[in-house]
Symmetry: C2
């Protein structure tokens, strides 16, 4: 019988037995997130701590033996940020899922990192409060993972991203110390914004063990939906630019392109038109007549840009059906059995149409079918590269298209990742986007907080 | 004739002559900000650069000679953050005041750091856009200083602080390199949030040479004002808590206590009642009937908490008069010729009344008259310690009260500074608030970016 690896022995002596998994049948499920074709290694061991002290004990054991620690929430990431490196301690926070406190008087919630996004939203709603960040993964992804990647979602266009809601964090640093950062007050400027620094740092600076988030009063559900089909991408871009220039602030402002519309139609038979270049979908959540006026103004901008079948609807059933087209776009493509490589670039809003045309050109040149959904109001575009499963040549062409899209986004003044994070897939793009001076400042922070490069090594900075 | 100090010689050879001031009659005006009794030294030289290259040249010269650099905007700070240390290069960004670009399509502005807050707001308004952060110093303070301190203001309660509006920065690092950080897109997660790290870092991590801010559509001016006078601090606290608990979101929510009311009344004769403990002042900026409904709901909460003379007004003249009482509170106290030591603590909203009672008790015990204004909706309280000019014993008693208020804020779960920054005056309080673990992480960042401790040494971390 082979001797236990020293890290496994150390973890077994530091933690209750059921926290430490080494059975390959179990640990294999923790080896990677949902990023298509992102490389990953094999963990030595998976640790599932129940509280902060157990996280600290695990990190301390790993730090002493210089074994990498890869933190993980639900593993729904799309950039490889939670992928194992060979021999690592895979630290899954999934079992730390207590909602510690919801405080209506201060409009905040304190949660453990493994709490699922939708669970927090439901619990907040029970107190008349609302947690806005709503990534598509909300039914599965955890608040810890959302914070680590600074997750976005549909509501961001009006209500901001995860970073805008994180007030305080408890973290375990690379040497296994427990530190509290931030505050519970509405405002505060005592010291550097280290909470903001950790949001989006993808597990490379510390392990998040508790999150305090700001909540908003529960809003009444948006009741005004505006939709418009457009014949050309140029007209779509014009409509997005017009809505922004007119000072309108839709609570949701989404784009679904023809490939997605077609896939949804083929799957669900919703009588979607098969000849439109894209559908734009907006909602106003202003109360009463102000909402009516905003919906009418959005509709006018759609029409001015040449939309057809544009309509402002108060019919909830009809509105929900069109939102289904948005929600079902990804599953509709996925259920065909193809592999989907998901892009996530963010452009200046005015460049969205130009970028969509570039994506089309890149897809044609590499012979890759690229479908698109976008958080149009944010300029956040998700080109989806559809690749027949097992077709190695198609995979290579998709990956080449992926890199060209990244470069095109930079060239148009955009960013290589709007909300999915850098992980493994956007490291080259990030270096190009930020340039050597900014990268040097990043590395200085990483080296200062994690000099032995224990925490999620190889991710983000590479 | 004494030889020039080496730093002056180096700066003269690196920069045009008119950028480098050494005449003590001129440089004395740059030695400190507006923090009462904060210690300050004497600069060797004041540099007034006109562009980023000149900032870089100045920092490089200072770094080579290991001379401290103290950056400064308009010097309106209240914590000593811009105070000179002996022999330093005082780097005044006041002459870099170009509004580089306002981009309505992307809703952003690019400005040099010396642009005055009100100038940016006016320029944005010309494009139908709005820059919300509105510190009381807005007619004089600069965007660079606002970013360095993460300035707040009246609108924060609904629209957030400076940090919520900064998209990108150009900075000069401690070794004189020019680095661009952040992005111009609505969203983005490429790399760590180093922009957020710099906002509020008070010149200790880099010198800000250009700022890109997010703008909002210009709102129609709030037209519904709700006021209420309260007989006791407990009732004031109840009203604030009730408004929050009811899910209301006033665009402004201010408190003026009886000492301020009395000072304004004595100065301006506005027929303010002289027997109320405090006035609460709220505004709704929701459009149309929603605004009416919100104002009515706020009024109902005031009344429920026992307000007298509570009224919701659409009379702009009447509303403006009461806002004058808020605006004039500080000048009314100041024009008496007393020294004013300004506090800035932020409490959980539910603790505001408790804190006000503590402040009263602390003032009585130290025989210091303490007047209070507060951004009530944020729990951000400004006790103002009124001290007869030249009375050394009274000064010591005020300073003792100041420290006790800081400790009381921490003990009630608050923070030692809500919006004025740490500077020199809140260093002890910040260390107590954050604790040794968090301070260690702060020091690691500072040491990583400024290993020779060139940038604003002694501030924030001490």
């Amino acid at each position: 019988m082979p001797a236990l690896p020293p890290i496994v022995a150390a973890l077994r002596s530091a933690l209750p037995a059921d926290r430490v998994l080494t059975d390959p049948a179990l640990t294999a499920g923790y080896a990677h997130d949902e990023a298509e074709w992102a490389p990953h290694g094999t963990p030595s061991v998976v640790v599932r701590p129940r509280d902060t002290a157990e996280v600290a004990a695990a990190v301390k054991a790993a730090a002493e033996l210089r074994v990498p620690v890869v933190p993980r929430g639900a593993g729904t990431g799309l950039s490889g940020g939670a992928n194992a490196v060979d021999g690592c301690v895979l630290l899954s926070l999934e079992a730390m899922r207590a909602i510690v406190r919801i405080d209506p008087a201060e409009r905040l919630a304190v949660v453990q990192p493994g709490v699922v996004n939708d669970e927090l939203r439901a619990a907040a709603a029970g107190h008349g409060l609302w947690y806005p960040p709503d990534p598509a993964s909300a039914p599965w992804s955890t608040i810890g993972g959302n914070v680590a990647t600074n997750a976005g979602g549909l509501c961001c266009v009006k209500y901001g991203v995860t970073r805008d809601y994180v007030l305080a964090l408890e973290v375990v640093t690379a040497d296994g110390e427990v530190v509290r950062l931030g505050r519970r007050t509405a405002k505060g400027v005592a010291g550097y914004d280290l909470v903001g620094l950790l949001v989006g740092s993808e597990g490379t600076l510390a392990v998040i063990t508790e999150v305090t988030v700001r909540l908003r009063p529960l809003r009444t559900a948006p009741t005004r939906t505006v939709v418009g089909f457009f014949d050309t991408l140029a007209r779509v871009g014009e409509a997005v630019a017009n809505v922004t220039a007119a000072g309108l602030q839709p609570a949701i402002f989404e784009l679904i392109d023809r490939h997605c519309l077609r896939a949804v139609e083929e799957w669900k038979h919703m009588s979607l038109p098969d000849d439109a270049a894209a559908l734009l979908l907006a909602q106003s959540d202003l109360p009463g007549p102000a909402g009516e006026a905003e919906a009418a103004a959005i509709l006018a901008e759609f029409t001015k840009a040449g939309a057809r079948d544009a309509v402002a609807s108060t019919d909830e059933v009809e509105a929900e059906a069109l939102f289904d087209a948005r929600r079902l776009a990804y599953p509709a493509l996925e259920q065909r059995g193809d592999a989907i490589l998901t892009e996530d670039v963010c452009l200046p809003r005015g460049k969205l149409a130009t970028m969509l045309a570039r994506v089309e050109e890149i897809g044609a040149r590499h012979r890759v079918l690229i479908a698109n959904v976008a958080h149009a109001g944010d300029g956040n575009l998700h080109p989806l590269m559809i690749t027949p499963t097992g077709d190695e040549d198609a995979r290579r062409r998709s990956q080449a298209a992926f890199e060209e899209i990244v470069d095109a986004a930079i060239d148009l003044g955009g960013t290589v990742t709007g909300e999915h994070g850098v992980g493994l897939l956007k490291r080259r793009g990030m270096r190009r986007e930020l340039g050597p001076g900014a990268i040097r400042l990043h590395r200085a922070v990483k080296a200062a907080w994690d000099p032995a490069d224990i925490l999620n090594p190889g991710k983000v900075l590479g």
